[in-house]
Amino acid sequence: MPTLDLLGSKKTGLTLVLLSLGLFGLASLREPETVVKAVVRRQLHALPPYVLSTDSDRFLGLVLEPLCPPPPDQRLLRTPVRAVASCTEPDPTDGSVTARLRPGLRLHRKALTSAEVVPLLEAWAERAKGIDLPIPWETIRVEGAASVRFIPSRPADGANMRLRLAEVVIVDQDGTCRRGTGAWREVACLPDGTSPSESPHWKEVPPALRDIGAVTDLAVLERRSGLLGRKRILVIGLDYNAIAVEPAGESPTDVERSQALAGAVFDALGATTGAPLHLLRGFEGDQVQRIEALRVESSGHTWELFNRTGSRTAWAVANPGLDEVNRRWLLNEVRRAVNNPAWFDGYGGPSVRSLLPSVYTPVHFVPPPADLAWPDSWPETIPRTLLTHTFWEPLARRVHGLSDLRHHVPLQINPTSSEATFRNAGKYALSILTVEALDRSHPTRTLENLLVWLPRAEHKALHREADRLMAQDAEGQLDRQAFERLLTSLDAYIVPLSSPPIYFAVHQDLQGWDAYAERLDPDDVRLRSRWFRNAEWWSYGLFGLGLLALVTTWRVRQDRRERAAAVQRQVDGFHHDLTSPLSAIRAEADHLLTQRGLSDPIAEVARTVDLEAQKAIQLVDDMKVWVDPNAALRMERTLQTRLWAQGMEPELQHLRARATADGVDLRLDLPASGTEIEAAIGPSTCRRLIQNLLDNAYKFRKPGNPVEIRVRLNQTKGYAVLVFEDRGIGFDQDRASSSYFEGGVRGQRALDAGISGQGIGLRIVKDLVEGVGGEVALLQSQDPTRIEVRLPLALPKEQP
């Protein structure tokens, strides 16, 4: 029995399944685009701690995002990152700041409301307390679904709180990893006490780094990229203190360890052309020189060196107005605090004596710090205070607490604005300040900043020398020995407290690396991908089989399409060859009927011939649908037809002509004028099904009775509904109504009435209607017989 081409639909489904499996296989096998970033030196943890230092956390904006953008007059980052919320300026009455969460804020994949944010902020505060970081707010209040209000303990602290909110992050623990609000997520983090070699990502570490034993941590950040792609950043933490002891029993010195680590790094650099090491940061001193040499020796120039830029380095500056004895005592106490080997761990920097880049000869501070006595005298005009502003409060407290400063020099923490007033007036003994490296290329710019605290009028020689050196530098002829002497002379005034500019090496093909801000651009991390890196032989085999299945399916479908096209051409040929003579017969009848003086009997014959030819043409058209419904309906789904009473006129004319010829009283009740619905069906198909249903209603009439046909048109959800009613002989009530739509079924009533036919009319209607996505049903079998056709509504036409 001919059916709709369901097999074709199954094939399509099978192809899609295979295609999906193939793509899934590809996605599974494909190695994500990966940046491998090695953090050299004493950053024991690959990922930054919870409390962000905006200067050193170069992952800010990837996984973790700041709660508030910095205040308009503060720029903590050269390249601003998206904040979690927009934050108001402090309220003048109570100093409160309202943070309005950005729409669609999610912690990993979970949407966040303000009520859910508060516990996360409280958890952040708990962690901050654990490391003696002051909590910016005293109270948090939820204000609506998307706002949180922070209230400080005093209204005057509002400005400081607003600044500190730019340091707060919304973060949650997820196993060993953290969940943040950024587009990236931590997908692999090493649990405490676990050796990096146990990580599944261990094999991705360049062998030269792996072998040295200096890897302390591994972590992977990942984000989706496009439909199937992923981007990854593998972060490797390196520490020379972790280097194995050799020979047995003898601990290598720091210098030996540092050299061993540098050697491994250079091996990795030299061996990584085409390998996935793309970024190393944390070099200083002779390491930079050796990398520079390596770069020059390499014909490919695959590595570039940059120094850390835009970072602020904290310095303790003794008041230049103090005499040398007082300054020496103050600076000595600072050095005692920072010369603790653990000091710089908290600030991401190394425990080295020289903190200026040793590309140039290092500054030699006075080692070791002496245990000096508190000076006998102190000038009355200069307060004995350690002055700084609120941003550096934690650092100031740490220096203060680790030295004898706590017994002699009180802390004075001021808001940023008033702190400047005290400092400019020279009302301090010691001040903690920052210097910003404004130029990416040269430490003389750092020098320029340092000299800001030494008044030019009182330190003419220093400034004159600095000017001379900077002029030399601008011409590329820096006198390095003179520069060293100048830096050494600053020892009498300044002690560095946190990391200086640190150099990093970048593979030239690294994209997404903002060298100026020293951070990865989350939206532009793009590197060479290495496909199928982890694939085993079975993966290739599976992929090959999938490919073979796809090609075979494609070939089968192609063959089937060609055969279907051939069948359709044949059907079209038969249709044409049958229709053509029938049309010619109609033309002959028409010719006769248009002759003048035609006798009535001849005219009657001509009309009968014409009607019978029309019936035959209808049958031929039906046969085409019967033989290949898909061919008849191909593309018809994209067409549309207006359903209305006037649109049925050609079929009605045909019916009236038959009724006239048969002497039958035909009574038609059509949809009201003005009822018009656009249906998603081609006009020929629509005419065919209306013709068949009208023909059915007429054909199965009760002998001797008028033929009453009622057509109704209305619209329900998504469908145009045509209802055909007639008061003919109807259908057998003891049969399932659906059986009449199966084709080849003739009812007993039709047989009893002696009405000829093949039982295919309703089958044709069903094929046509279902072919365009509609439905047909026999609602009532008799008095009246009622058939309902539901056709999908046409899509609205696009406005020009």
Binding site: G573, T579, S583, A587, E588, D590, T594, K624, S684
Partner: protein, 133 residues
């Protein structure tokens, strides 16, 4: 003058005769003749309307691909005629009930009508409608 392109000479005679009662009709019974006439610009200036059958045998320079093995020869001729720059009305008169071709023809502003549904007397009205539109 009306050009009537149809390779079924006998079966299309009544349509031609009906039109010929009012206008001058030239019958072209092959693709070659039709293409020759379309290429004669002087002649085409006198043509008021062109009637094209759809299914006709393919002949060079037309290809089976262009005519879908002769199933759509009339439509291919129509496109060639339009490509030549002729602006007059075209009626495709066919036995086919292909809605896709109908849509393509009507989208170009031409007329698609079926022989089984348009007897010669009705066809005269279609021609008149196109000439007076």
């Amino acid at each position: 003058m009306i050009l009537f392109v149809d390779d079924e000479t006998a079966r299309s005679a009544r349509w031609r005769e009906a039109v010929a009662e009012r206008w001058t009709v030239e019958h072209l019974d092959s693709v070659e003749k039709a293409l020759a006439a379309f290429g004669d610009s002087q002649k085409m200036q006198e043509v008021l309307l062109v009637v094209l059958d759809l299914a006709m045998y393919t002949a060079p320079p037309m290809t089976d691909k262009e005519t879908d093995l002769g199933r759509l020869t009339g439509d291919a001729l129509r496109k060639r005629l339009r490509a030549s720059g002729w602006k007059g009305p075209i009626i495709v008169l066919t036995n086919s009930r292909d809605d896709i071709i109908r849509q393509s023809v009507e989208r170009d502003g031409d007329t698609f009508t079926r022989k089984p549904e348009t007897v010669p007397s009705a066809f005269v009205e279609v021609v008149r409608g196109r000439l007076h539109s």
